[in-house]
């Protein structure tokens, strides 16, 4: 009885954290569902992808895999390249997911850009079970994505409300998290490294392929920082 009560509390705590993601995912998920339909791929494919692939930008790219009927190996290679940023999220979450127990596989599977951004900044109050809070945040996010996909694939053309720009909710979410991290004065240098490296790489490599060079640059700068702190720690 007590346990179940805690779970409800965890859900009540988790839900508000996911509202910005809900706005973004319903719109982007619906847009994805519509695009799948427009290109002649049934609701089953759209649903299958949103449940088992569950990677927004890859699913958009995947539509072009289908329409061009590309070689599966090519699809594999492109997908790994596009998803490479997930390696960062994994590395960032190693410590946080240590106590996640039986939820861990699902939490790793469902670590999208948006879920990561919410979880990496989350300080769960002590009286709540952390694993359940993480689980509910992750699960709710995926439910929004699947619901958006279904809506788009089923009723997209009937939509009367102009949703143009609603997906900006995700940009807003990331911006707010950035400001929160900035206010906490923790690792401002790392935050600046992330922005600066990305901007430089967009300018040099262009918007379509900048992510991997940006990741390399971020890792290099952070590694140099690590070498410096390590040198300081060594007693003379």
């Amino acid at each position: 009885m007590k346990k179940q009560y805690k779970r409800m509390e965890a859900l009540q705590y988790a839900f508000p954290k996911t509202v910005p993601v809900m706005a973004g995912y319903l719109v982007l998920g619906a847009a994805f569902g519509i695009l799948m339909r427009v290109n002649g791929f049934g609701i089953m494919w759209a649903l299958l992808w949103s449940i088992f692939v569950y990677a927004g930008s890859l699913q958009y790219l995947g539509i072009s895999f289908f329409t061009a009927a590309v070689n599966p190996w090519y699809a594999l290679f492109m997908s790994v390249m596009l998803n490479a940023r997930h390696l960062f999220y994994g590395l960032s979450m190693l410590d946080r997911l240590k106590g996640a127990g039986r939820f861990k596989p699902y939490l790793i599977f469902s670590l999208t850009d948006e879920t990561f951004s919410v979880l990496c900044n989350e300080e769960v109050p002590d009286h709540l079970p952390e694993d359940w809070v993480y689980f509910f945040i992750s699960l709710l996010d995926q439910l929004y994505w699947v619901a958006g996909t279904l809506l788009g694939a089923a009723a997209g053309s009937m939509l009367r409300f102009d949703t143009a720009g609603m997906d900006f909710a995700l940009t807003a979410l990331f911006t707010v998290i950035f400001i929160d991290q900035w206010k906490a004065r923790k690792n401002r240098r790392a935050a600046l490294t992330g922005v600066f490296s990305s901007v430089v790489c967009v300018l040099i490599f262009g918007k379509d392929v900048f992510i991997i060079p940006a990741m390399v640059m971020i890792l290099s700068v952070i590694t140099i920082g690590y070498q410096k702190t390590k040198d300081k720690e060594v007693p003379i």
Binding site: V19, P20, A23, W45, L48, W49, Y54, L58, G62, A69, P72, W73, A75, L76, S79, V80, R85, H86, L87, F88, Y89, G90, S92, M93, L94, D95, L97, I108, F109, D113, F116, C120, N121, A164, G165, M166, F168, T171, A172, L173, T175, V176, I177, F178, I179, Q181, K183, K186, A190, A191, T193, G194, V195, S197, S198, I211, A214, I218, I222, T229
Partner: protein
Amino acid sequence: MKQNYINYVLITLAMIVATLFTRFLPFLFFPSGKKTPKYVTYLSNTLPYAAIGLLVVYCLRGISFIARPYGLPELLSIGVIALLHVWKGNSLLSIGAGTVFYMVLIQTLFC
């Protein structure tokens, strides 16, 4: 048709495998039972900050400063979000108001 169908299934599998691979790899490399190298712990403490910076830029990567509307809707909205958030510190308010502001901008002033 059947050939196509098989290709669709294989492409879907490729996407699933690629996503699982990139999401699980760090955890397979550094299982929680074993001692994580110091450098990796350092990375896992600093990377989240850099990664959010990367994500903000990723969202804005498509805007152009040399063609109309010169990235103004995005920059103005981010300005509004930043002001609201520094002032009130309420995430939902900042995100909600910022998004509505952006929608109004691109649907009226900048359309």
